[in-house]
Symmetry: C2
Subunit: 196 residues, 2 copies
DNA sequence: GTTTTTCCTTGATCTCAATCAAGAAGTTGC
DNA sequence: GCAACTTCTTGATTGAGATCAAGGAAAAAC
């Protein structure tokens, strides 16, 4: 199975796409592999590409007064990019880097994606549904940040996304949860004790 | 000018819509006025309608262990609903209530909106762009909650959304900022002092 | 207009997480 | 393999904001 088929699988979850539409889209896909120290996307630039992560994990970083905060992660099988910038064509605030040793990505340029929207039947529909799903993720996150205690957020993550805990260094998880690495370390050890 | 024209204005910001498409959509709009104690949307129900606020302010509430948190507000001239529920057709977690004495709303049902998506030329495009904009709001909010100190979030709100400060009771703003009313009251008085 | 209720402010205390610090464990690179 | 570096853990201290409490201002109800 080609890596592009992973993308087709994602689309098929949303709508039934015609072979012609799929061809039009997939012909415009390019491929690139990133190493651990690469920046897939740099802050303060207009995001040119929409990426699909075929293998690896990436994180979204915001720099703020000497500190860096990891706001989100993306795993293989999902699209990612500095969305706000990609959508508005304004410089973005996110730096995107691999968490894993490598990140293998298919990507399509903004210009090509506009062609897909204009010249396929279901492009807009997939685009709408994908945007809706991204919205839901962020909306859930807002509720989580406002209503759930960091310790409980970590417990929830252990249940719902155990792969996050295994694949992501503690310090980045801590940042994502809005706490310091020290505090997360203590949370983790308190869980160990209560579980025997 | 009819209230529906407010909606047309919003659409015109996104795409040029044909008279036929607008007619198809606007014929499906209904109108309802809500009082201060009404619940526009109840938690644990599937959201049936997408609302457009013609007049007033509403807030989004999450109930969590006896406490209620205000996660967001919507102002006149904007669409709102318990989106995640509206999209997924699963029971939602948000209660939506007016902040102002009344909230005047146009609304379209989920079923009718699917008809619009299916039978208009630009419905999907508007839907995609609207979803993208909602995503951007939530993404910005995530960054704000993770990287900005509550006091600075309040100062930012004063600059960017001064109408929020004037129209929304302090206790709801505090909840939205993730702090207690007492703390926001102290922040506010410290700003007063430093401004003379 | 008066009562009732809600909302906001201010003060005192307490608690939890940040910070500072240092050492252990684990990785990476030569 | 060893050195250099990064990451994680643990401890002591500090501080910002939550909580508890009460009085005053404002708004709503009658």
């Amino acid at each position: 199975m080609s890596g592009k088929d992973l993308i087709k699988e994602q689309f098929d979850k949303l709508v039934s796409i015609t072979p012609a539409d799929w061809l039009y889209f997939s012909e415009r896909l390019q491929f690139k592999q990133f190493g651990k120290k690469d920046r897939i996307t740099q802050a303060d630039r207009v995001e040119d590409n929409l990426y699909f992560l075929a293998h690896g994990v990436v994180r979204f970083i915001v720099h703020n007064e000497e500190k860096e905060t990891t706001t989100d992660f993306s795993f293989s099988g999902h699209f990612f990019c500095s969305y706000s910038s990609f959508i508005t064509r304004q410089p973005g605030i996110f730096e995107i880097r691999p968490v894993t040793k490598t990140a293998s990505c298919y990507y399509i340029s903004w210009n090509d994606l506009q062609q897909v929207y204009a010249n396929t039947n279901c492009g807009e529909k997939i685009g709408r549904m994908a945007a809706e799903q991204q919205f839901i993720r962020k909306s859930d996150r807002e509720v989580s940040l406002l209503t759930i205690h960091p310790k409980d957020r970590y417990l929830q993550l252990m249940e719902e996304q155990p792969q996050w805990i295994h694949q992501i260094p503690l310090k980045h998880l801590a940042s994502y949860l809005g706490i310091t690495p020290e505090t997360l370390s203590r949370i983790r050890s308190s869980i160990m004790k209560s579980n025997g």
